[in-house]
């Protein structure tokens, strides 16, 4: 068995599904998805606790990785992209979209990652699948806030429902 895979298995096995009791640490990320009609783009900002995302990158790819410190590892951005592209999938009007990575920045204990989907002239429906950190924490919640010129909607995604569809017609 591949060593990296083994590590993931160990980590997952160690977190039994039974109890989600830790009060003062929330396993949650928020993703703001905004449809900007005049630019025909969908702008996405994902906010993840840096210690959580660092932990998952360490477990999956490289245990020596370090984020948001004076000696941030060079491969952080590559691995972050690799991981997020695997976990975040968006279909617009039933068509899977190519998500463009814009960049990342740190804001205290949070990592903000910016993505964009271009050439969306009309928004009829959007389906968001966000499995970020669900492989790490069984109680992880990924909250999606969707904003269009007309409406604000939200999705709460988790292990049992990692995908949600919103219709706008």
């Amino acid at each position: 068995m591949n060593m990296k895979y083994l590590k993931i298995v160990i980590v997952l096995t160690l977190f039994p599904l039974l109890v989600g009791t830790t009060m003062h640490k929330f396993y949650v990320s928020t993703t703001n998805v905004e449809y900007v009609k005049e630019k025909e783009t969908i702008q996405i900002i994902t906010k993840i606790f840096t210690d959580d995302i660092e932990q998952v990158l360490q477990e999956r790819y490289d245990s020596s990785i370090s984020m948001d410190s004076e000696n941030e590892s060079e491969n952080v951005e590559i691995l972050l992209k690799k991981y997020l592209f695997k976990k975040l999938k968006i279909s617009v009007n039933s068509i899977p979209q190519e998500i463009k990575y814009i960049g990342k920045e740190y804001d205290m204990d949070i990592t903000k990652v910016y993505f964009e989907i271009e050439n969306i002239s009309e928004l009829i429906s959007i389906e968001v699948e966000n499995k970020v950190l669900i492989d790490m924490f069984s109680e992880q919640q990924n909250i999606i806030h969707l904003k269009t010129p007309e409406s604000r909607r939200s999705l709460i995604l988790d292990k049992n429902k990692p995908k949600g569809l919103l219709n706008f017609n």
Binding site: I8, V9, I10, L12, T13, L14, F15, P16, L17, L18, V19, G20, T21, T22, M23, H24, K25, F26, V28, T30, N32, E34, Q43, I44, I45, T50, D51, S66, M67, D68, S69, I102, G103, E105, D107, M108, D109, I110, K112, Y114, E116, S138, E139, Q141, I143, H145, R152, R153, S154, L155, I156, K159, N160, K161
Partner: protein, 787 residues
Amino acid sequence: MSHIEKLLLFPKINFHNQIIIMKLINYAALITLLLFTGLSYSQEEEEETRDPGHYNNNSFKQLYEEFSTPNQYRSASGAPGPQYYQQQADYIMDLVLDDKNKKLSGFETITYTNNSPDELEYLWVQLDQNMRSRDSKTPLIQSNGAFGADMAGNFVNQYMGEGFDGGFNIQEVSSVNGVNLEYTINRTMMRVEMPNNLKPGEKFVFSIRWWYNINDHVNGRGRSGYEQFEDGNRNYIIAQFFPRMAVYNDVEGWQNSQFWGRDEFALAFGNYEVNITVPADHILDGTGVLQNRKEIFTKDMMKRYNKAKKSYDEPVLIVTQEEAEAASASFATNTKTWKFKAENVRDYAFASSRRYIWDMMAVKTGETDVMAVSLYPKEGNPLWEDWSTKLVASTLISYSRMTFDYPYPKAISVHAKNQGMEYPMICWNYGRPDEEGNYSERTKYGMFGVIIHEVGHNYFPMIVNSDERQWTWMDEGINTFVQIVAQKDFGELYPDAIAPNKEYPIRRGTPKSIVNYMSGDQNSIAPIMTKGLNTFNFGSNGYSKPAAGLTILRETVMGRDLFDYAFKTYSNRWMFKHPSPEDFFRTMEDASATDLDWFWRGWFYTTNYVDIGVKEVKKFYVTSKMNTQIKNMMEARGMTESDLPPLVYLVEEDSEDFEESMRTATLDDVSTLQEYIMDNIDPADRANLKKPTFFYEVTFEKPGGIPMPIIAEYTYSDGATERVIYPAQIWKTSSESVGKVIASDKEITSIVVDPDEETADIDTSNNTWPKRKKLGEFDTFKEKVKD
């Protein structure tokens, strides 16, 4: 109507009676003119539709329906009433920690005093450990669906194995003379039958013998348990470990709502005598004062302890890292018993390990000395030896200033991986550097934040003892609010700790940081006044939103002086008592003469949000020439200009009455005004009159459901700015929009509502006039990475 009111005031000055009467007739004509116009409009509307009647749904209506009626137990002022009572539960416990078998067993004797006016037929005891028992129903309420694939290990745990064998094993429940008592266990609650009903004022003494398997809290995600180290040692952080009396009070009767794992606790105050037997080489600390220190401590430890009692600046090590490392190498088979006494606490917890480094420092709160204490394995260093105890001390000082002097003799911060959890005098905190001792800013601030937060919980809910099972916000929200104050204080007290930052960075509980949550989909938001278990987003609902709300009250609505006095009053009134939400709401108003029912309704009882903006700005010029609007009104009523008092007319820029000459005209050119001034104002006073030349009608809109003061910043053509705060009551009758006439001798170039973003306004795109296209978060970043 305000113009007319103003006009009516003038006749009071220096007038002949006859003239007054004449003028009054004129004013009456004016009023008739304006009133009739209003009437004719409403008549037209009525012909089309007739709205049904309605209840009083004014935003400023008092919360009579939402609040329970004040009574002898809880006064309308928010203070405990003349008949206020609370039950008392005193415990004597003998505990044995079996390190080898990871087992805790105990024999406890509870003396329960019925201070209520009610006769009790039975007692309810909480068995929180049963949440981990094999027949626990906690997993059954976690909704789940079939996932495409599952890790084999998870699959085994969930579907094939028996799982962890947790939960209490109750061996005996007996009365003081050894007679077994009947009891019934309903999951996490145990009903105990007494030989006779317990009458008001009576005591009942009974004992319980129990044991349970201690869980691995790191891998099982519990608030209590042990962490396993590679060298075979464990760090035990033990809490919710004994059968505890449920609360009986005037609000809930027995608070025996089951423990599902999330909502915390409701507990009665009492005195504790606790004897804890652990391996002889363990270092232990817990709630209360150690009674046999001389027996337990070595001579060196005693010397260091006495030194710590006089050290107010730097912690003194009682057990050094070297000593802890030496102790970790062998495993004693003999035991030691640590004896504690704690007075007036609502719970008990302790921590025990061979690996502990132990330091202490004295801190003064008021007149008394308190010991700030830290327990940590070497994994916590260098962060813990540098800051843990100083954080404890600084927190006690800040919270004491905001509430009352810390009444307990000590406060302990215990290093525990992934934990942040509070108990009386002791709490578990995370924050662990990597193996080389390096740590990131976020690990550091994570540790600072959690220690301040958990130590702060000594005040809320350990001393101001609210019902956590029902109301998460009363301890978490209020505590998160005070935590922000304490964090700022800590940054000022120890600038080195936060360098290169000049101020302690605050992320949670600020008004701006709650916007994302409050602007979310209404289907996934619950009001704050919701039982914690039933909320969608526990952190935002129970911690951040109430803290942001209190910050708005303190900084924007009430001001620090009024808020702080009222907040202190609440803390002191309910110190060592059980407050309800209304007790808090009522006290904050009672002690400040600030009617806040509108705020409690909007912020705590509903999921409404704040959104206020500038809708429209109209520019007017003043003239003595009658404008079309008034002319039409007069014609419709058959009046002439001589029926009216001298009037000053406002003409909107670009309206049909507007003439270019008005732009350059001054008030001196308005003849009706000049005449009035000449007739009524002393020549000496005329020079003091202001001479505004710019007149605006600003319309503010409020798409949001929560009223809030309008903080308007006006910028003038000369660059000067002026901030005007219109109290929230400006929305008292018109909840959608309100107008304000601004007279100025300078041109207004821009208006910004809530310029410092202090009201949690969820949509700032309407906050400026002229409309300014503000670059959003996304575009700002995109611009930045482009460069």
